[in-house]
Subunit: 383 residues, 2 copies
């Protein structure tokens, strides 16, 4: 536990740097946490932490705000408890790493933080961490305990997704004109907080978010964003936090509607649900990630008839799909929502799912030139 | 088979457009293929195709060129053969789709091509394709039969990977200054052929290619490419074709050394092998994808001792790792290579693998500020 002291004692060789407002705030929370532990220890009291509980039972559906929230349940994490001592030590180790990261103005991957803390405790055969699966939840504990986003703790996950469209942004001082990003686009970073990314000039009237890079390519190649004055994003499947956070900032700060084009299957519905209301495992971050106004443009269960699609688009629902569809229909935020109940029922009645890419059976650019523009014009979407 | 005719008869409503030299070449090969089939049919002969064989036994290790190549084995695909008639029809269907794509100057994903051709044959219950796993190999058949890259057939896979560094390129007419791409970078497109991507201005002296986006973030955050005058790329794991092709163009056209920083494990060695020599399944494309001069900078088996790493970096080799390592050591292009034989032996003797991210145990920026610069200076790499 030798490293623990580094939390409260400033490093002798640390170069002082001017911290951003965000970093100062996070650092003072970290120091507060450490001070509290030290104070208890020096006062002869048991060092312990109150860790908010990240479970389904402590997740609340806030109907008014339209997002999932974490309840106020907390669990104590005590040093003098055989079952909790290791986790207590792990929490302190990660807190120390994060302090170092903030002071050095560097960021690290989840895996990097794991490696940083992984070692054999001196004089024992006990490892601080055995694998990353032990490490990631401890970081989430710190997020909720400090009330800081992972991004504010200088930790990132794999970055995925890309963007083009009628917006200029500034990323670490570099001006990125998303109107001139060719066929590749601007790769979305993992940390998109306002001190890193600023929006500079935006004519776009909305954001079209699509599920996959392959679909995004079609829209970019047809210059959909130019013809329809919008921003075009994808998250390479389930969008990672960086992508969700950027969409939320575009929604909140620039007041742009976020329009989602996803597959007509339980996975597409789930992606939409996470973008809109947040997820149970990250409920504590919904207010910084969820976009309650996000809209689901398609693919819709009615499209097989309405767009006169051929049988080629049908993919039979598996037993697991049917089970997932019913689970999603029972989510509190879908439960009271007549339109969504009808949508899921319709898909189940169809007995098949449909992918965005299936619209190519009509014509290669049917999706960009007819389907999406017409739905947008009619405001024909699910909320 | 009604669609077959569309290969040789021009569409009445097709808008003529000026084809690029590349597209004209591909189209004339396609028309040649179709003409041959028609000629045989009209001459009362059996329509058939010669499809080069994409198997291990038809893969040749060209020691002199340092790449894997496809041999000259071919298999006939006949229309009047019960076992081959369906594949013959599938080949014609995809050829027809590709002709449409080229004429429309559009590209499609592999999945899009599958959907485009998927339908029930009129008057029967037979589907042209049942799933994408049937469709992708037919496209590869066409690639080898026509001698055209998939990219030249206007077909792409999922795009992955990003780039920053001392280079300006032009992507579909947009100038991309990779020196000013912030923390996110330029997202690598799937098709990077010279008519889409041109290199404009490049001061960089080499390319550092890393395996993962998380490692790339560390190098970009530390502005490694600026301090070391290079280009920095990643391929989000096994680099997709777009990334490999771009690296090859940087190597061949700009004469930049491609230096790889990958994990010290069989997966890292395999990624290097594919970048350098090509893969068996894509042997027919090696001359346009493989980079025989690529170098493997690390992580090396000797690094545990040489860099005085802690035990935290060790990840035990699994039985499968050991099996894979021996398979890779027996590849003809590693077999006669003393340095690589020693490297793999050393890793097996260590009994553990090491990831690039493990270097964080030394210091957060050890990898960017010491490890890589020192190895570069000493030219300490495997070829």
């Amino acid at each position: 536990m030798a490293k623990k002291s580094s939390i409260v004692q400033p490093k002798r060789d640390a170069k002082p740097r001017k911290l951003s407002e965000r970093d100062s705030r996070t650092l003072s929370k970290l120091v507060g946490l450490a001070d509290d532990v030290t104070k208890k220890a020096l006062g002869g009291k048991e060092p312990k932490l109150d860790i908010p509980t990240r479970t389904k039972s402590n997740t609340i559906w806030n109907r008014k705000r339209g997002i999932l929230e974490m309840g106020d349940g907390v669990a104590e994490r005590e040093l003098f408890n055989l079952n909790q001592a290791k986790q207590f030590m792990q929490t302190m180790l990660h807190a120390s790493t994060i302090k170092d990261l903030i002071e050095a103005d560097k960021t690290s991957s989840l895996r990097g933080v794991f490696y940083k803390a992984k070692h054999t405790v001196a004089g024992t055969k006990e490892n601080t961490f055995d694998d990353q699966a032990e490490s990631d939840p401890i970081l989430e504990d710190l997020e909720v305990t400090l009330g800081s986003l992972r991004e504010e703790l200088h930790v990132f996950a794999e970055n995925r997704g890309a963007m083009v469209g009628n917006i200029t942004l500034v990323d670490k001082g570099d001006e990125i004109d998303c109107r001139r990003m060719g066929s590749g686009g601007y790769a979305l970073p993992s940390i998109v907080e306002p001190d890193i990314i600023q929006f500079k000039k935006c004519e776009a009237k909305f954001v079209l978010h699509v599920e996959k890079g392959t679909v995004w390519n079609r829209f970019n190649e047809d210059r959909f964003w130019e013809k329809n004055n919008c921003i075009l994003t994808h998250g390479a499947g389930q969008p990672p936090r960086g992508c969700r956070r950027l969409l939320q900032r575009l929604s909140h700060e620039l007041k742009l509607p976020i329009i989602c084009l996803l597959d007509c299957d339980p996975w597409g519905h789930y992606i939409y649900s996470v973008i809109k209301q947040g997820s149970i495992s990250l409920a504590f971050e919904s207010s910084r990630l969820a976009i309650p106004d996000a809209k689901f443009l398609g693919i819709r269960a009615k499209d097989y008839d309405e767009c006169e699609l051929s049988d080629a688009v049908k993919i039979d629902l598996s037993d697991n799909d049917i089970k997932r569809a019913k689970e999603i229909a029972a989510y509190p935020w879908f439960e009271g929502h007549k339109q969504w109940q009808r949508e899921i029922e319709h898909m189940l009645k169809n007995g098949f799912k449909m992918e965005v890419e299936a619209l190519i059976t009509k014509d290669i650019s049917y999706v960009t030139e007819e389907y999406v523009p017409e739905r947008l014009k009619d405001k024909d979407w699910l909320e």
